[in-house]
Symmetry: C2
Subunit: 562 residues, 2 copies
């Protein structure tokens, strides 16, 4: 066991190597209460760049991945250890978490099976994140959080070894595959870290406890909101059409044209689905739509040509148009109807609007799920207008007439129901309102003592507002709003006025109430640059379509009897 | 009495002549419950253009005014009627409203004294507005709402004649004068319609029941927020200095230069004080500042040179500056410190920012209280940066360092107090958050039946958001938020995307609760183009300086026993 704790110190050093944006996160080390897993819980992480892992983890299988490790590091982690018990994947899942698991947490790595239960409370990144991997493979998590790919970390893991994966299942593909047949059969493989809401079309979110781990969300765990099957585009034959009213010279641009004929611009922008946090509205009264919890939001560094530059190159007359239509290659297999939307021309053409025809996401080609080869990036505007697999850009006097522009993604009064709704009475959502979210601790966590004191809890989260209105303050309360603690903005504070397209990450420690036994509510609320605030509760913002759910974020934690 | 009701019909016709922006206001005629005066309550009004009265009412005295009328119309209204009782102004005030007045409401017009009590519930504009004049002169109100200046209206009034003003007081000036001596002695005369909060400096608001009567607020009743004495500027010697970092050619512009060397632009914009509705925060916990109710907001058509044009003419390099300082001629008589502030350079220079160096307000020279001869208009931005009596425009890398920019007009958490506040931690307020206000009925009104039914109440109000984010919906509830009624936007709906600088006026009829005896709360809340909403209550937005008070507006009305 001495060796175990020696390795643990090395692990702590390894994962506490953080990039600039996580300044202040050292404070987590001083956190007086550590967080134990709730009923079921993954693998954590710490911050760090994910660029390292890019060429490391594609559609690897368990066996090829562990062989890579072995070849590179000469460490036996994940190799078959003769004489240990063998477990099927189903058995591993069953033995991990919940009542059936008897409170134990098992994971796999390579061909190895590990019982990490006793390590949970020692994990420097917190128990809640490591618990995400309960019953499944560590590789997809370590792929995202590459600082775990060290000899020290693998040594710690091997200390926890209890068995081997059953031989027949040792080469199972780690990623989530598409269906074998039907219109969605050519959808790409996806990381199992993503929390899937619907398979066809594929809609999956980032586990919310991982949201604030990186300023730029790793591509593999960036939320996916698809309306239709993913079109598989040949980059050689791809053409982007630029046309419409007020356009002097219609264009038909190849991917190469886009990359070479226009200056390359990079914008770090957060994208959020209009329906993020819909589950909170569902608790008031049922709404229609994907039950996103809080992970349908992500931030990436997008690079491409400026939409403005391309439109001006096509000779568009700003005074002749009001809207710019963005239509994707994704279409309904039955009707042929394409996904599309439009944005105000003033946004598309403004030099400070920063709209892109993006071909890179976090430094690599945009992945198939995120719009390969080209997607629109409309910073500060709802995800729905950041059209993927972009087929055409059409200048127009009129708003786009498609379903998702005219009859969806709009906000209504709580008293509007499906019997009396008239979609023509509300404007299409463009800029989103201010929001914030507690990513750690996880909702319904049990707080446990890791030292003599149990007086405070450390919270971490994200906050963002649409329209480039940066977040200027996040307040947190542990006593129902009687007292508020202003959080430290640990990343994203220095964005330009009204062009603050990316979220902020925040962290703060809050004293727990005097009588702190039992279930305690923790809330956060953000204020944006225009001093707009989040609404206190969900009732008054309830709307039949479940959009625009931006009330104070509330979670509960359990404090056991001392 | 038959003659009285004949005249009343004519009066109704006269005041129901409305301009285009009041479409839908005819519904008020169908209002089932009319509003009687509360304890004290003016003269109403209806809509209509105030341009008519402009040359009519300046610093007129009662006698000169009534003589005007007589000469123009040959009507005896307001003339001395021999044999009637004579009353001093103090006596008229005492006899009107409150317990002492025994429930009667007296007003004066010319030399005449009138008991309008029995007319209150018959007034087509509602009792609450006519009640504003209780105990005082009608002229200032009719000056603003010129549709009363007709023979028919004067005939109705004369029917209610009960006396003459005592001879010694017949020539008393109607407007509110400045002090006789001291630094504020050269402040201008003001309309007595303004609700004064402080005399030196002069800070006064529009009576909130009058706010929604006009889309463009008449100059005489536009709220005044002065920090210092009003500088009296000679237009011949006036110069506006344009200078600073990144300015190639500093300019010194005369008023004539500004009018002739740059294109004239007109912008209809709402201006609001950061502290409007401060009284609502004061009810939570005391705050510092002028106790504005809801009338520190107004809309006007502003004309002048574009700030952008002037800065570009001075050769300013956009990439060299971050802020534009705006400094006024008003200064502290003790220290000489001038009032000033700054705005982001991106706002000042953006073609869609619509910032003006304005020399006209609603078609006339800007009045002394509003910045004669030149004020900055920064649409969508807090009143404090719309600097009046503008002396200089200074381009800079840095924010303006004056008190009102750095140590005032900022927002803080409810847990920040005067012991722990650090003004450097919050950004200066620029764009304001979404707000709305019920202007009619007045708070604590008593609803009375004017017909067989008493099932609903008609509400009217304003709504606005900063940053050009137009208001897309106003919801009203009479049952504590269980059900919401979406109001009709009766003016201001058609403003450009994200350049909706002016408020909207709204109106709706709401069913009263089943058990509708007693005191009923009516609330309104607005949603802006970015779908930001107002917070439900004031507690969580309380801040020590009492700024940014934009919670749902709540009023109470009393429904008497049937």
């Amino acid at each position: 066991m001495a060796r175990f704790f020696g390795s643990l110190r090395a692990f702590s050093r390894a994962v506490s190597t953080r990039s600039a944006w996580t300044r202040g996160s050292q404070r987590r080390q001083k956190q007086l209460i550590s967080l134990a897993a709730a009923a079921v819980g993954g693998i954590g992480l710490g911050g760090g760049s994910y660029y390292l892992y890019r060429h490391f983890f594609r559609t690897a299988t368990l066996s090829s991945w562990s062989v890579d490790c072995n070849e590179q590091h000469g460490v036996k982690a994940g190799e078959v250890v003769p004489g240990l018990p063998e477990y099927t994947l189903a058995e591993i899942k069953k033995r991990s978490g919940g009542e059936e698991g008897g409170g134990r947490v098992w994971v796999t790595y390579g061909h190895g099976v590990y019982d990490i239960t006793d390590f949970l409370s020692l994990h420097p990144g917190g128990a809640e994140k490591i618990s995400l991997a309960a019953g499944s493979a560590l590789e997809p998590y370590w792929a995202v959080f590459a600082n775990h790919n060290t000899e020290e970390v693998r040594e710690i893991l091997e200390e926890l070894r209890i068995g081997n994966i059953a031989p027949a299942e040792r080469n199972k593909v780690i990623q989530q595959g598409p269906p074998n047949s039907g219109p969605y059969a050519s959808d790409p493989q996806r990381s199992p870290v993503l929390k899937v809401n619907t398979q066809t079309p594929f809609n999956a979110e980032t586990p919310s406890v991982l949201l604030a781990e990186n300023f730029a969300t790793p591509n593999d765990i960036f939320y996916v909101r698809n309306h239709l099957p993913v079109p598989r585009v040949n980059p050689e034959s791809y053409r982007l059409e630029v046309k419409g009213e007020g356009v002097k010279t219609p264009l038909s641009l190849s991917l190469e044209d886009l990359k070479t004929e226009f200056p390359r611009h990079t914008v770090t922008a957060t994208i959020q689905c209009a329906g993020n946090r819909r589950v909170e509205l569902n608790r008031v009264k049922p709404v229609r739509g994907i039950p996103w919890t809080g992970g349908a939001i992500g931030t990436a560094e997008w690079s491409g040509a400026r939409l403005r530059d391309v439109l001006l190159h096509a000779g568009v007359r700003e005074d002749k148009i009001e809207h710019v239509h963005l239509e994707g290659l994704d279409n309904n297999p039955l009707t042929g109807e394409r996904y599309g939307g439009s944005i105000p021309a003033s946004k598309a053409l403004s030099p400070s609007g920063d709209c892109l025809l993006a071909y890179e996401m976090n430094g690599v080609d945009i992945p198939p799920d995120h719009g390969y080869p080209v997607r629109a990036i409309v910073p500060g505007v709802v995800g729905a207008r950041n059209v993927k697999w972009l087929a055409s850009v059409v200048a127009s006097k009129d708003e786009y007439s498609g379903f998702w522009q005219k009859n969806d993604y709009k906000g209504f009064s709580p008293s509007t129901d499906w019997n009396n709704v008239d979609f023509s009475t509300a404007p299409a959502i463009q800029e989103l309102p201010v929001t914030s979210f507690i990513t750690s601790p996880a909702d319904e966590s049990i707080l446990t003592e890791s030292s003599g004191e149990t007086s405070e809890v450390t919270l971490r989260g994200i906050a963002w507002s649409g329209g480039g209105r940066g977040v200027v303050r996040v307040d947190v309360s542990a006593d129902g709003g009687s007292s508020w603690h202003t959080a430290e903005i640990i990343a994203g504070a220095d964005q330009p006025y009204n062009r603050a397209w990316a979220w902020v990450l925040w962290e703060t420690s809050v004293p727990l109430p005097e009588s702190r036994e039992g279930r305690v509510e923790l809330v956060c609320k953000a204020v944006d640059r225009s001093y707009n605030v989040q609404p206190e509760s969900t009732g008054p913002i309830w709307n039949l379509r479940g959009c625009l759910s931006n009330a104070w974020h509330r979670i509960h934690v359990h404090i056991p009897k001392q």
